[in-house]
Subunit: 260 residues, 2 copies
């Protein structure tokens, strides 16, 4: 028996990292134990704190075990871009064998539980648990797909389409990690300024776009909580196809390919 509230430093049986990696690769018991071990050297960070600062070269590997966070890049003149949103199971820093100074920062949105592993320990983990290495690898490829989708979003879509797409993607990801609220809504703990930084828009325009989506009875955003009223129509506006997020996967090799 375990109490339902996981106390800060206990390794809960419900490890987000394990849950995520199991979407990509069958983990043996030993793999799971190793991952649970990480949760022993973890810390809680309050909301709106910097976890990684641009140029950070500490080399630590920082899996996000609980809470929400984001990667961002700040400019001297105040411009700011949110590069990706992080859910439990994602990595805050680089996840390769080699350590490289980051060209981005990471901040918490909510209170976060973060493990801290030395690069050395991480490399050892990969070497002694190939299944973990493989799963992390595949996870990185999905992350890449998300980045590509953001590029398309920023490059080609209008403000309201962009917003719709962000909300669709976030809805899917939050559902995937079991974070839907009772009424089917979900957290998105950003201010309108924050949404602007994610979408390449000003907060003023974000406000107007949200009003429009609300007026069209598609979605409401209030106090960091989103409720989607008509997912199908929102998806149509966003031209959202969730395939890139899924870990669905085909294990095979095959023959021809169209070379038109």
């Amino acid at each position: 028996m375990r109490s339902p509230n996981d106390s800060p430093t206990s390794s809960s049986g419900d490890n987000a990292l394990i849950r995520k990696l199991e979407r990509f690769s069958a983990l043996a018991c030993g793999d799971r134990l190793a991952l649970d071990d990480l949760a022993r050297t973890c810390e809680w960070v309050p909301p709106d704190r910097s976890i990684v600062t641009e140029g950070d070269a500490s080399g630590a590997v920082l899996p996000l075990l609980e809470g929400l966070a984001y990667r961002h890049k700040d400019f001297r003149d105040g411009r700011r871009q949110i590069i990706s949103l992080l859910v439990p199971g994602d990595m805050c820093g680089g996840h390769g064998r080699l350590s490289r100074p980051t060209n981005y920062g990471v901040r918490t949105l909510t209170r976060c539980k973060i493990a801290r592993i030395s690069r050395q320990g991480f490399v050892h983990l990969l070497d002694s648990h190939p299944a973990i290495a493989e799963a992390l690898n595949e996870a990185a490829l999905v992350e890449e797909a998300v980045l590509r989708t953001w590029i398309v979003n920023l490059g080609q879509r209008h403000a309201h389409e962009r917003m719709a797409h962000l909300l669709c993607e976030w809805a899917q990801r939050m559902a995937d990690c079991g974070r839907l609220l009772a009424h089917g809504g979900f957290e998105l703990p950003l201010t309108q300024q924050g949404l602007g930084a994610a979408l390449g828009l000003t907060s003023v325009h974000v406000n107007r776009v949200l009003q429009r989506l609300r007026a069209e009875n598609l979605v409401a955003f209030q106090n960091g909580t989103v409720r989607i009223f008509d997912f199908d129509r929102l998806r149509a506006v966003a031209d959202f196809d969730p395939a890139y997020l899924s870990a669905r996967v085909l294990r095979e090799a095959s023959p021809a390919l169209p070379m038109d």
Copy 2:
């Protein structure tokens, strides 16, 4: 002795994939031989041809050995986003152990030499050559950094800054793979419409932006060739920091991290 022009199917001693991977990991002789082997089952593709179409699930792994190409996403209504530019050594398709249908297409810019490996063969390559697996991994992380930078570019920069950044990045990458021309310029075989598709701009505006950069004596673009007149000033306009492209690397683990 080997003739200087590499004929289509001969494995040239100068394999772009090897050159690239060696930036990330020390390859043993056997690793290099295995990579050279790939060049035996390769094909030449003419310019402006589709290599991978969206939704492709063939599962083939397609390293680009020679030539230039790009990843892109097309919309039904004609909008089009170029997601990344590919140089020799890059992968055209997915490069994981698992095969997933692509949500993008790949087209050639110039004539391209492309190896074709079954997913099965690729997995076997990774399993039997850990150094290759590691190098591919690190390469994927650099690619991720490029995607992040494009997001920042599209989200926050004005048209002329975006253009400047693209040109700086491309200059660096072309230099890194030994593709600078005699006068220090380099190929960028895109039409102005193509540049627009990469930058989220219309070709009309691309044209005006290029005129402005030319008028400011920063750079000239003609016939798919770029000449940069004042790299320092261009870099300042673009706010370009090449660090994210480099394979420069620190092998260590280390202690503290700012937790402001």
